[in-house]
Symmetry: C2
Subunit: 153 residues, 2 copies
């Protein structure tokens, strides 16, 4: 180990599961702050671990880093965030998850009604309707995450 109660990138990477490159990236985006040694190396305070836990949780719920950034901006500056602060932020995810689940259930129910008719009509089918969710995402729009996709048996 090194000396003080601060953590090196490697240690934070190890404990958080984020790659060092991701930590540097988050720092560039302003999601993370790190002190520096005389030689210019990063030294993290222990509370970045909770911050990173929040970031990962938010990502798991579907937030973009931009949204995460906005959420983190609501933390009180000056003092170290308390558990209550984190709880307040993450409570909002409930509604989001509910909406996501509802959207998928709607899609599934639509699928159920479509299977058997084999229509796949661009005008009438609930599943292939151009106006639907995944259509207008622009470049890079993906409907569900690769991890969930891969999990299919």
């Amino acid at each position: 180990m090194h000396s003080a109660d601060t953590l090196t990138v490697g240690e934070v990477a190890q404990r958080s599961g984020f790659a060092p490159s991701a930590l540097r990236y988050y720092e560039r985006l302003g999601l993370l702050v790190a002190a520096r040694t005389a030689g210019g190396q990063r030294r993290y305070e222990r509370n970045v671990l909770r911050r990173l836990a929040f970031i990962r949780a938010a990502r798991n719920v579907g937030l973009s880093l931009e949204e995460v950034s906005a959420a983190l901006a609501e933390l009180p500056d000056g003092r170290t965030p308390t558990k209550a602060d984190w709880t307040r932020l993450s409570r909002r995810w409930r509604r989001r998850l509910d909406a996501q689940i509802a959207a998928l259930e709607k899609l599934r129910d639509g699928l159920d009604s479509c299977i058997g008719c084999g229509c796949l009509s661009l005008r009438r089918c609930a599943i292939s309707n151009p106006g639907d969710s995944a259509a207008a995402g622009g470049p890079g729009a993906v409907f569900l995450p690769p991890p969930l996709r891969a999990a299919q048996p």
Copy 2:
């Protein structure tokens, strides 16, 4: 209108809701085939519309174009696919949607148990667990689609 029972790119784009550039892209990937006029312009058969409906539906369900491609490869070659062919393919999406819904519900229930404790522990928290779904996606991995994200009030 032009002449025969074939469709121009513009017409297909209009009817399918896909941009002409997307149609050309799909053709490069082998998802679509088009005849050519003497002058080199594309002329589509009417059945591409159903094919495109399938593609859109698959994308809505969360398939990548690569998966769509694999699915389309199972269609009988030689004859025009029947409704039954399309139905057979889309029936598989049910399981996928069920799994996606289950994953989100698991996440939500984990969130419920986490809210109130404010722990967000990297080791213990169900939501911020590094081993979880969104962790190993590599570059470009996104959990839920921008459209669903944007829909949040």
